[in-house]
Amino acid sequence: MDLLFSLVINGLMLGSLYAMVSVGLTLIFGITKVINFAHGEFMMIGMMLTYIITTYLGIHPYLTLVFVVPLLFLLGIVVQKYLIEPLKDSDEHIQIFATVGLSIAMINLVLMLAGSNNFNTPSSGLRETLGLGAATVLTGQVVIMLCSIFMVGGLHLFLTKTQMGRAIRATAQNRNAAQLMGINVSRINMVTFGIGIACVGIAAVLLSPLYPVNAQTGQSFVLIAFVIVVMGGLGSIAGAFYAALIIGLVDAFAGFYLGSSLKDVAVFGIFLLVLIFRPSGLFGNARKLAHVS
């Protein structure tokens, strides 16, 4: 019983971490229709910034949110405006290549500036363990869990209750009709991309005290994030959240019962089953998928 409980807790903690990373990706995916292969690298940049600001200003890592999130929001806007937007009329593959290129460029830029060293953001008490019955969790993990719930809730409120949110959803549903209703679609795309990147910025700040960062860090998270986004239903934020928790639990259980060498088989096996039997994702619906394609 204790063992099961530990596995569930581990799985949920890992799942909420994945959720944080995936939410921004699904937002960008669902609304601007851009598959952002550089998502992990934005996170890596966010973690690097967190490290730099924390060590130079000597402040608590969470306080760097004030700097990192706006900076990444701006970076997102710049990328959308100068890289993605000019390609909007070209083939979808070109956009994919553009984000892949951006990802490679970002990794190599960091390699050039910082080398392949690992940087450790001070953990500032966030690696303290909390006993939850038989399971142990870190304070930082609990914060990530809570924040992922707030983030998903907040984004949901933003998209349903605000004028900007409604405009964003209108753009997602039908680009041309939205434009006819007087919505500035390219501005919406810019803001959405910015918000998506800002979300991964929040994830970066919360992750930094727990994980060392190097130029390749983004790569370790991004593949699983893509699985989650597709499983949750493209563009569905709540879907991504639940899918992340499921993947987290599968990861923890398969890691224990099948061994860590086989756990990816379980994760991707489930992913394949979802693709075969519910191609629109666990929480997406066919209508949504039609808009994405």
Partner: protein, 407 residues
């Protein structure tokens, strides 16, 4: 016509200049060119450069003492950023720079790719730092390796466990429950394979074996399995990220085996200890190339090496990679010096004649090229993190401190 005239004049003067300059440099002292092929940029640059520094220092020392066969050694570098570039640079060094031999390479995959090119061109290739078995197990006749490999790493880990750690723990080695975890690339897998073989020879009890991708972000289920299997001794072969992750999560989940023995780069580096915390890593064992806290009587010249390093690069060595490259290169250059000419077969003859006993190089290990052109006297050192420092504890003659156990 005027244009042609001018062109011809420039051409003539440049030819004269080349001849004059050329004769000046040759009259001072003849030069012999060797290639130095390392990843000097890109993801492996840090330890690639560290390895190259070792070779550079060996060449400096040889040149100060009159060069090889009376000729000054000049190193021509090639940057092996990836496997394709390693091949391209090896071709350039051989065909354009006309190097007599190539030294390298730190990365096993680059070494395997580039040495193939050298073999085909019949240029000797000296591997000073890559550990994969395949570097010397392909039956090539001009590829030589001086450094210890995955095989030696596993051998030292099991030997240290049986001969030293178990007796310190006051248990029969066969009673220990051993868990092997390793990253799943060629490196981790080949060390684990040899660990299994040596452990079986010693009659040890391996109760669990797991591998994982080096990019793993959560090892809590591995730790749960280790706890569940009541593993006493964990053998981990890993890079840096996964070493940090394992040690952190094991500590946070209050998993305290009797011993953790790490293999390779991740466990030897000070940044790893700093990331994990010196109090957490204290007592952890590590088997790797010779590092700097070693008995200088067993590694003569190590202090001079450190002094020369600090003078040239204005910092302390960042890892043992420079030392192992230095020790190998120095003996190889001495051997070539004792030879007769720089043809591939002469160099091979000279290198095969090397006979350096244990305890006479700066890295401690002896050098004698044996089967498959691998140094049969290569060995690694057993170390332990004690009070913030990585000190050598095994073998006895190289140790500077006693093994400590948490009892």
């Amino acid at each position: 016509m005027k244009y042609n005239h001018k062109l011809r004049r420039t051409a003539i003067s440049s030819v004269i200049a080349t001849v004059v300059l050329g004769s000046i440099s040759t009259s001072a002292m003849a030069e012999v060119k060797f290639g130095a092929l390392y990843p000097l940029s890109g993801g492996l640059a840090l330890l690639g450069e560290e390895s190259y520094r070792g070779l550079e220092l060996a060449v400096d020392q040889i040149n100060e003492n009159g060069g090889v066969q009376g000729e000054t050694v000049v190193l021509e570098t090639g940057d092996a950023v990836d496997n394709n570039q390693a091949i391209g640079e090896a071709r350039r060094l051989i065909s354009q720079e006309d190097v007599k031999a190539i030294f390298g390479t730190y990365s096993s995959s680059r070494s395997i790719a580039a040495s193939q090119v050298a073999e085909m061109s019949k240029v000797p290739y000296f591997e000073l730092g890559a550990v994969a078995d395949d570097v010397t197990e392909r039956g090539l006749s001009y590829v030589f390796r001086t450094n210890p490999t995955a095989y030696h790493m596993a051998e030292t880990i099991i030997d240290m466990l049986v001969n030293s750690i178990a007796s310190e723990l006051e248990v029969d080695p066969a009673e220990l429950r051993i868990g092997i975890i390793h990253e799943d690339s060629n490196y981790g897998s080949s060390v684990a394979k040899h660990q299994r073989t040596f452990a079986e020879q010693e009659g040890l009890n391996i109760v669990m074996e797991e591998h994982y991708p080096a990019s793993i972000v959560d090892m809590s289920s591995i730790i749960l399995s280790l706890k569940n299997e009541e593993v006493d001794v964990v053998l981990q072969t890993s890079y840096q990220d996964d070493s940090v992750l394992f040690l952190r999560q094991a500590n946070e989940r209050d998993y305290q085996p009797k011993a953790i023995i790490g293999g390779g780069g991740g466990y030897s580096m000070t940044p790893t200890a700093e990331a994990v915390g010196h109090d957490v890593i204290d007592g952890v064992f590590d088997v790797d190339f010779t590092q700097y806290n070693v008995n200088p009587d067993f590694a003569p010249g190590i202090e001079d090496f450190q002094a020369a390093y600090e003078e040239k690069y204005e910092e302390a060595p960042r890892s043992g990679h420079s030392l192992i490259n230095y020790a190998g290169a120095l003996e190889l250059l001495r051997a070539i010096d004792a030879g007769n000419g720089f043809s591939a077969d002469e160099i091979k003859k000279a290198v095969l004649a090397m006979d350096v006993p244990d305890g006479e190089t700066a890295a401690g290990m002896g050098i004698k090229i044996g089967e498959n052109n691998q140094n049969e006297r290569a060995s690694m050192m057993g170390m332990q993190w004690q009070d913030g420092e990585l000190v050598t504890v095994y073998p006895e003659e190289a140790s500077v401190a006693d093994i400590r156990t948490h009892q």
